[in-house]
C-alpha cells in the first residue's frame, strides 16, 4: 500500500537503476561546458580574446562581490537569498570567463610562487592589481541602499543580457556556451530587478523617493556601458565578440519602458566623465574599487600557496 510514501518520492529517480540521488541534495547537475570544443578558432587573436573575456569576466566578478555584500544585510530573508543567488550566478559566469581568458592567453595570468596550487582563473581574480581589472565603473560603485542596488542591477543585467544574447553565436565555442548559460540567468536577473523597480515605484512614498534618488545616482554611469573599446571592436570584427554600441538601442528600449510604466522620470544628468581619456575598460577605476579589491583579495593574497 502506498499510504505512507513520502510526498517527495516523485521528485527523485528512485525507480531509475543506479540513481540514488536524494531530494534534499538536488538532482540532475549539468556541466555547461560539457562537450564544447575548447580550441581557439582560426583567425582569432588570442590576446584580444583574452582581454575581451577579462572585460566580461571582471564585470561579473565585481558585480558579484558587490551583491554578495548584501548577504545577511538585506531587508528580508527572501531578498537576501535572491541577491545571493544573483551573485552566485554572476560568479559562475566570471569563473568560466576568466578561465577562458587564461586559456586564450596564458600571459595575462599574474605569476605566483612556485608550487602554488592556485588555478589560473583564481590567480586572475585574486592576484591582479586594480589597474589590471577591466570592469566598467558601474559595477564597482558602492551598494547604497536597496533601491540603488536594484536600479544598478537593472541597468547592468539589461546590458549584459543583450550582449550575451548576441554572444551565443560567437565563433568561439566556449564563449558561446558561457553565453547560452548566462542568458538564462540574466533573463531572471533583469526580471527581478524590473519587478523591484516597479514595486518600489508604486509602493510607498518613501520607497518611491529612494528609487528616484537611486536612479539619479546610477544613471550617469550608464554611458560607459556603450563605449566601444578597441579590443571590443577587434573581437567583434573577428566574430568572437560583441560591440556594445550594437546593443545600445535595444537596451535603451527596456530602460525607457521600465521607468515609464513605473511612472518614474528618467533623470537628465550628464554621464560620468573619463579619466585621462579612459574609464573602467582601460583600468581607471574609482576609489571604491581599491577598497573592494582589498576586501576581496586579502585572504588569498595572504596565503598564495594555500590549498583551499
Amino acid at each position: 500500500m502506498s499510504d505512507h510514501d513520502s510526498v517527495y518520492d516523485g521528485l527523485v529517480g528512485h525507480d531509475l537503476p543506479g540513481d540514488d540521488s536524494r531530494w534534499a541534495f538536488g538532482t540532475d547537475f549539468e556541466d555547461p561546458l560539457a562537450g564544447v570544443d575548447t580550441t581557439l578558432p582560426e583567425g582569432v587573436d588570442g590576446a584580444a580574446l583574452a582581454a575581451y573575456c577579462l572585460m566580461l569576466g571582471d564585470d561579473a566578478l565585481v558585480h558579484s562581490h558587490r551583491l554578495s555584500q548584501w548577504a545577511s544585510n538585506a531587508p528580508d530573508l527572501e531578498e537576501d537569498i535572491a541577491l545571493a543567488n544573483v551573485a552566485l550566478d554572476l560568479l559562475g559566469q566570471a569563473r568560466l570567463l576568466l578561465a577562458r581568458a587564461a586559456a586564450a592567453d596564458p600571459g595575462v595570468v599574474p605569476p605566483l610562487p612556485e608550487g602554488s596550487p592556485v588555478p589560473p582563473e583564481d590567480a586572475l581574480a585574486f592576484f591582479r592589481d586594480e589597474a589590471a581589472f577591466r570592469n566598467v565603473r558601474l559595477v564597482e560603485a558602492e551598494n547604497g541602499d536597496f533601491a540603488v542596488t536594484m536600479v544598478r542591477l537593472l541597468l547592468a543585467s539589461t546590458h549584459r543580457l543583450a550582449v550575451l544574447q548576441r554572444l551565443t553565436t560567437s565563433r568561439d565555442q566556449v564563449l558561446a556556451a558561457i553565453a547560452a548559460k548566462g542568458v538564462k540567468e540574466l533573463t531572471y536577473h533583469r526580471d527581478l530587478a524590473g519587478r523591484w523597480f516597479l514595486t518600489l515605484a508604486r509602493g510607498t512614498a518613501e520607497s518611491r523617493r529612494r528609487l528616484e534618488a537611486g536612479l539619479a545616482l546610477v544613471w550617469p554611469m550608464r554611458e560607459e556601458l556603450r563605449r566601444t573599446h578597441p579590443v571590443e571592436r577587434t573581437v567583434a570584427e573577428q566574430g568572437v565578440g560583441v560591440d556594445p554600441a550594437e546593443v545600445a538601442d535595444e537596451v535603451d528600449v527596456v530602460l525607457e519602458q521600465v521607468p515609464a510604466v513605473s511612472g518614474v522620470e528618467r533623470p537628465a544628468l550628464p554621464p560620468v566623465g573619463l579619466v585621462a581619456g579612459g574609464a573602467g575598460r582601460e583600468g581607471r577605476h574609482t576609489e571604491a574599487m581599491g577598497r573592494l579589491l582589498a576586501e576581496m583579495q586579502v585572504v588569498a593574497r595572504a596565503h598564495p600557496t594555500g590549498r583551499w
Binding site: F25, F29, I81, N85, D191, T199
Partner: protein, 125 residues
C-alpha cells in the same frame, strides 16, 4: 518601439525576460503595513505528478511571491513548476474538529481494498 501588450502583463520584446507592466498594487494612498502577506509555496518536481507543499514566505504581491519562491525553494534543481497561494486564502480545518471529521473513517475496514491480491508488476499501488 515595442507593441502594446496583448492581454499579458509583460512587455513583449522577444517575449523572454519579461519586464512587468501590471499586477503591482498602487499603494501610495494606503497605510503601510508592518509585514508583507504570507504565501504558501507548492513546487512540482521534474518527475512528479503533483505540487508538493515546501514551505512559506513573505512577499509584496503574487508575482513577487513566485520570484521569491523560485529563489528560496528551487535552488537545488528541485522543481519545474511553482504555485503560490496567499495564506489567508487557504481554508483549513480546525484542530477542534479533528474528532468529528476524521475519527469515523478509522473503523471502516471495508473501505481499504486489502482483500485483493495485486500482481507484482503493477506499480504505484
Amino acid at each position: 518601439m515595442s507593441d502594446q501588450p496583448q492581454g499579458e502583463d509583460f512587455a513583449a520584446e522577444g517575449g523572454h525576460g519579461a519586464v512587468p507592466l501590471e499586477g503591482v498594487p498602487t499603494g501610495l494612498d494606503e497605510q503601510p503595513r508592518g509585514e508583507w502577506p504570507l504565501y504558501e509555496v507548492f513546487v512540482r518536481g521534474k518527475r512528479g505528478l503533483n505540487h508538493v507543499h515546501v514551505g512559506s514566505l513573505h512577499a509584496a504581491d503574487d508575482q513577487m511571491a513566485v520570484r521569491h519562491a523560485r529563489d528560496v525553494y528551487t535552488r537545488r534543481n528541485e522543481g519545474v513548476s511553482i504555485w503560490v497561494v496567499r495564506a489567508d486564502l487557504v481554508t483549513a480545518s480546525s484542530p477542534d474538529e479533528k474528532d468529528p471529521l476524521f475519527a469515523p473513517a478509522g473503523d471502516k475496514v471495508y473501505r481499504h481494498p486489502t482483500f485483493y491480491s495485486i500482481p507484482d508488476d503493477v506499480p504505484h499501488m
